[in-house]
Structures are given as C-alpha cells and as structure tokens.
C-alpha cells in the first residue's frame, strides 16, 4: 500500500481560511488526516490580559468575523451579570434581532461557500446578494458591516432605527430561501455528493464535543438558546434531523434560517411595542469586575460559544478564555475524513462549517 503524504495546505481555496490538513492517501482514499492549525493565531487570550474591558470589546468581533455580534454579546453579558445590570425589554429585543440577523447572514455565507466547494457557481452569488442586504443594514445602525462594535456594557451604543429595511428583508427572504431549496435540495448531483457522506453519529459527536447545527443534524435536540435569558419570551422550535450526513447538515441550516427569520419577526413586534429605551451605561474607565470567576455561554451559528473570565478585582481580567464551535469541528476532521475520497473530503469538511479565526483565536 503506497502511502502518499499530501498537504491540503494553508493556501487552499476550500479550507475557508488558513487550515492545513496533513493527509495520508492511498490513491485518492484518505488513510489518516491530521489538522494543523495556528496560522491565524492572534493571541486573543493573551491580549485580554493586557487590555481593559472597554478596550477589549472592539477586538471581540474579530474572533468570528461572520458572527461578530455573538462574541460582543458574550463579553457584554459577562460584565452585566457581574455588575448585576438589568436590561430593558427593548434592549433585549434589539440584541435578539441583531443576533438572529447575524445568524442568517452567517448561514447564507455558508450555503454559498459550501456550494462553491461542490462546484456550483451561482448559489454563491445568490446567497451573497441576500447577505449584502443584512450587512448594509448593520452598516446603517452600527457604522461598519462586520466589525460592528454595537453592543456596549449595559445596552447598545445608540437606539436602533431603519426597521423598515428589516421588514422588507424578512418579506423577501422566504421565497429567496425557496429558490435555494429549488436549486439545491433535490438536485440529484448534490444528493449524490452529500447523501450518506461524512455521517456523524451521536456517540462520536458527544465524544468530539460537537455542538450546534452539526449536532442537531445528528438527531440530538440540544439548542442552548432554550436556556438563554435573552430568548426567554420567544417561542421557536430547534431544528432536529436524524440522518447526520452532509445533506442533513445542509438541510438543518436552511431550516435554521427560516427559524431565525421567525424569531427576528417576533423581535420586530416587540420593538414596535416597546418604544422607550433606558439603559444604565457604565463609566468604562472605572469599570472593575468584582473578584471571582464568571462563565457565560451562547448558541453561536457554529456551535456553543462560551467565555470564562477570572478577575482579581482590577480593571484587566486575570485570565480570559474563549470556547468556540469550529475549534472542535476541526478536531473532528481527524476521525470523519478517514476512508473518504479526496473530493468527498472537501465536501464533508465544507459541511461542518469550519471558520478558521474561531479555531485559532
């Protein structure tokens, strides 16, 4: 058996960032795969120990630039819980609306990138066309498309506006998603490439600490939004599918887009009702977290994202650690790619929605 060692190297169009997979191949069948990460390591955790909380807040969007709101919400939540600040219903509704729009944008980009991995050219541009509307809305309210730095400890930077843009978007989204379904879901070549490929059963998913859509596509209904204080008065049903292969992960994400659109619509209703925004903003220069350890978690688009802050009472955290979803999906690659062929491997790693800034932190 002649072993060929191939570098699915850092510069590769379909690894969504700088991921290097050291593959051992027999012909085109993969014998072993060892992910090698660290090409995008910016030392977020070391930087946290050198910056005060308010200085660290804008950097937090860069941990996962496709879902920046989730990580700034995590940091704001930690400080708010530590200082026992209560959020007014309007601020909560603003946060839920922006989080769900961000989740839709991230899933849309994933659909485009996944189809581009499989070779289809046009869904990429259709998905980006919808995502562009969301990004332009983010630019209107927060000032920048992706690095929005809009959440502040105790509330939001300025009151939300231009709600009619969101209404128009939520009106046109359903039939655009139906377009994707018509174009992709029943496409025989797409089914051939994804049905039964990269099957992830419950046991390995638990063993590799996979959370989020990848886990829900394997039959486990574990959605951390259920226990979240922000989503308390929103009703939604977590998307659960049984097959657990690449196709189920794709289908779960499309259904999740529809689910998020429903939540966003409910958030809009609340925003129309609650007009008054009163938020107790903190003076950032004298912000000192009381001593102790704080754990917070949120359901990010790529799995469970959680933060751990250990503070010794001064203005800079003693230790800050992030847990991100893709970190464990990359680790899963070493098991799920065994025995797959080379071009299936690209499809399987694409279906896990791995984004490298999250892995390297």
């Amino acid at each position: 058996m002649s072993k060929l060692k191939l570098n699915l190297g850092p510069q590769h169009p379909s690894t969504h960032g700088v991921l290097r997979l050291i593959l051992e191949l027999d012909g085109e069948k993969i014998i072993s795969c060892e992910p090698d990460v660290g090409y995008l390591h910016r030392g977020m955790e070391k930087m946290a120990e050198k910056l005060t909380y308010i200085q660290y807040l804008p950097l937090v969007d860069r941990i996962d630039y496709l879902a920046g709101f989730f990580y700034s919400e995590l940091l704001c939540r930690t400080v708010e819980k530590a200082l026992e600040i209560e959020l007014s219903p309007r601020v909560k509704a603003i946060r839920v609306l922006l989080l769900e729009l961000n989740r839709i944008a991230s899933h849309l980009l994933w659909i485009g990138a996944f189809l581009m991995d499989l070779g289809a050219v046009s869904p990429f541009f259709y998905a980006f066309r919808e995502r562009e509307i969301i990004l332009q809305y983010f630019e209107k309210i927060s000032g920048q498309r992706m690095m929005n730095n809009y959440f502040v400890f105790g509330g939001v930077r300025r009151d939300i506006g231009y709600l009619e843009d969101v209404e128009n978007f939520l009106k046109i989204l359903p039939d655009k998603v139906n377009d994707y379904e018509k174009l992709i879901t029943e496409n025989p070549i797409f089914l051939q490439r994804t049905k039964g490929k990269g099957v992830l059963d419950k046991k390995t998913a638990f063993n590799f600490a996979i959370t989020g859509v990848n886990l829900r596509a394997s039959g486990v209904s574990l959605d951390f939004r259920k226990g979240d204080y922000l989503y308390k008065d929103f009703e939604f049903t977590p998307v659960v599918l049984e097959e657990g292969d690449s196709w189920a992960r794709y289908k779960a994400r499309v259904m999740e887009i529809r689910e998020s659109a429903k939540i966003a619509a409910q958030a809009l209703e609340i925003l129309k009702r609650e007009k008054s925004i009163e938020q107790t903003l903190i003076n950032p220069l004298t912000l000192k977290l009381p001593e102790g350890e704080y754990f917070q978690e949120i359901e990010a688009p790529r799995g469970l994202a959680s933060i751990y802050v250990k503070s010794t009472g001064d203005s800079k955290p003693y230790r800050l650690k992030w847990r991100t979803g893709s970190y464990y999906s990359v680790n899963l690659l070493r098991k799920i790619l065994k025995g797959a062929y080379l071009n299936d491997a690209i499809a399987i790693s694409g279906s896990l929605d791995i984004i490298l800034p999250e892995v390297d932190k």
Binding site: L4, L6, H12, P13, S14, E28, L115, M116, D117, L118, G119, A120, V121, S122, F124, F125, Y126, R129, L183, N187, I189, F190, Q192, R193, Y341, L342, N343, D344, I346
Partner: protein, 365 residues
C-alpha cells in the same frame, strides 16, 4: 473549391509564378483562414462565457476593457503573453514544454474537417468523421504529460482523474457516431449534412429520430471537455487548477484557449451530426429570396455558415448554462455513470437506429 483553385492559379500566372508553387500554397491559405477565424472565435467564446456567467448570477460580467467589455479577452491574452514562463524546479523540462503543443494541434485539424457550407470544405475525404474520435483522445495525452511533468501532486491527481474520465466517456461517443453513420449511410460529414436535408427543415434533422444519441453525445462532449459537472481534473475547489497548476504565461494561455477551441470544435460536430449542419431550419435558404439572384447565390454560402455557427452557439449556451447551475460529480459516480448508464444506452441506440434504417428501407438517402 476547384473554381477557387483555377482563379488562384490564373492570378499567379499573371505574375508569372510557376504553377508548382501555386499547387503547394493553395492548401495553405484555408489553414491560415481557419487559424485566424479560430483565434477570433475563441476570444469571443471566452468573453461569451464570462458575460453569460455574470448575467446568470446577476452580475455585469467584464465591461471595463473596450466598449461593453469586447476587448477583455484580448487584454487577458496580451497579459498572459507578457507573463514569465516559469518551469518548476523538479519538472521534466522537455515534456513540460511539449504538453501545450500537443493539445492545440488536434483542434486545428478538427476545424478543417467540418463542412462550413456546401462549397467551402477543406478536407472532404470519405471518412473524416472517424478522425473526430481520434481528436477526442489527443488532449488526454497532453493532460497526462502536463500532470506528470509539472512535478506537483495536485497536477498528478488532476491528470489521473482526467485520463479515467475521458477514457470512460470516449466509448459512448464512438457508438453514437456509429449510429449517425448508419442513419446517413456514410462517414463523410457533408454527406451526413445532405442526408439530413431530405424532409423539410427541422424534421429532416437526425436530432429527432436519434434523440437518445443526441443527449448521450451532449453529455459525453461535456465530460470530454472537462467542463462542469464533470470538471474533476481541474476542479477549482479541490485541485486548484488540476493539470495546468504549474503553467504560467503563454503556455497557460495555450491550455486555456485550447479548452475553448475544443469546446467550439465539439459544438460544431454536434451541430453537424444532429442539428443539420449548414441547413437552414426553414427548409429553404433566405438570401436568394431577399437579395437579387447574382448576389444571392454568393450570399447563400455565407448564410449556410451562419446557420452552422448559430446552432453551435446555441449548444455552447446550453453548456455554459449547465456550468452555472450544476455542482460537480463525485469521482466514483462519474465513472459509474458512464460505464453503467451511458454505454449500454448508446449500444441500445445503435441497435434502434439499425432497425429504423431497415424499416424505412434506407429512407434516409
């Protein structure tokens, strides 16, 4: 053709150039015309594809160079000319340079075979349809050379995949060509075109009786050209550029242009075999009716060429349309699809055509 020959000899005799020189150079002129026409058509095809892909995905497509983007491919070709020709360190230098030449030569031959109009055919010998099967197999040789010589694992993968793919899709084409030859009872392309002019307009074409063959040949042509959904050898998202990863500058331009030249040649072949070559879809040619007789009789040839080009561009439009929608096939299913499904279907189609030919008592010519 011989009318033009005498004209040419007479012209040379006027400048008292010996007739021997005329005989030799007479066949060089059409080759130059073909080469020039091929370059223009290929440049137009590249732009046509990029514009169409743009419109399919709600983009504008190239529109910066020249009015409405017409000179874009010319600019690309010129840019590639100026780029440096890098040969990778471990590459097998001789084979590395030989590969682009091998891929471009057969295409020129292919274009010479096709009857552009009833008068204007270059190599009109009796079995010029068989040469197309050989033309289909030549690029494999150059892709294998390119993949092996560029000393790059990804290129080697691309070359291996393309060999197995084109091998699998060469056989159904042979059977379908056989079934068309049976229908037209001749292997000469102009004979086949004339055989399709029996009934009035569209109903005479072989596309209708031999529709299964048309679909099979269409799929095999896409597979042979390594175009989506069969573009395993140069799959952008896996093997970056497959066999032509290490090529740069003029050599890459030759690979890139030969891919489109092959696309044009195969589209012409499909048009001739199934869509009635240079016959007009309305049965009669329009130009004699519109223009007075003496101009009309010359214009007829140009109109014939126009119909041939129109049909081949229609086929190319559908190929590009398929590229815009379908994802790529998996390597294993690609081969299974051909051996298990296309090959038996094409044999069945040949069998049907023989029965049809027998039943209609040689109705078609």
């Amino acid at each position: 053709m011989n009318y033009l020959y005498f004209l040419y000899i007479e012209f040379l005799a006027k400048h008292n150039i010996p007739q021997l020189f005329g005989d030799i150079t007479f066949y060089v002129i059409p080759c130059c015309i073909i080469f020039a026409a091929l370059l223009i058509v290929v440049l137009a095809l590249v732009l046509f594809e990029r514009k169409l892909l743009g419109w399919f995905t709600q983009r504008k497509g190239p529109n910066r160079v020249g009015f409405w983007g017409l000179l874009q491919t010319l600019a690309d070709a010129f840019k590639l000319l100026c780029k440096e020709n890098i040969t990778p360190k471990g590459a097998d230098r001789f084979l590395f340079n030989l590969a682009p030449i091998i891929i471009f030569v057969p295409v020129m031959v292919a274009l010479g075979l096709i009857p552009y109009s009833s008068e204007f055919t270059f190599m009109n010998f009796q079995t010029n349809l068989l040469i197309f099967i050989v033309i289909g197999a030549m690029p494999v040789l150059s892709i294998l050379l390119a993949g092996w010589a560029s000393n790059n694992k990804y290129s080697l993968f691309g070359a291996m995949r393309s060999v197995s793919q084109i091998l699998a899709y060469e056989l159904p084409i042979a059977f379908v060509i056989l079934s068309v030859a049976v229908l037209a009872s001749s292997l000469n392309l102009s004979q086949i075109t004339l055989a399709q002019s029996s009934a009035k307009g569209i109903f005479g074409w072989f596309g209708i009786p031999c529709f299964i063959g048309f679909v099979i040949m269409f799929i095999c042509v896409i597979a042979e050209l390594n175009r989506c959904p069969f573009d395993l050898p140069e799959a952008e998202s896996e093997l970056i550029c497959g066999y032509n990863t290490e090529y740069s500058g003029m050599r890459f331009a030759i690979f890139y242009l030969s891919e489109y030249a092959l696309l044009f040649a195969n589209a012409l072949l499909l048009a001739v075999l199934f869509l009635g070559g240079y016959l007009s879809p309305f049965g009669k040619y329009l130009s004699p009716m519109i223009f007075p007789p003496e101009i009309g009789s010359i214009l007829v040839y140009f109109e014939q060429a126009f119909w041939l080009f129109a049909k081949s561009f229609l086929i190319i439009f559908v190929i590009i349309w398929i590229r815009a929608t379908l994802p790529r096939l998996a390597a294993f299913d690609l081969l299974k699809f051909s051996w298990a499904c296309l090959l038996p279907l094409s044999i069945l189609n040949l069998f049907l055509m023989v029965i049809l030919k027998y039943l209609t008592g040689g109705g078609y010519v």
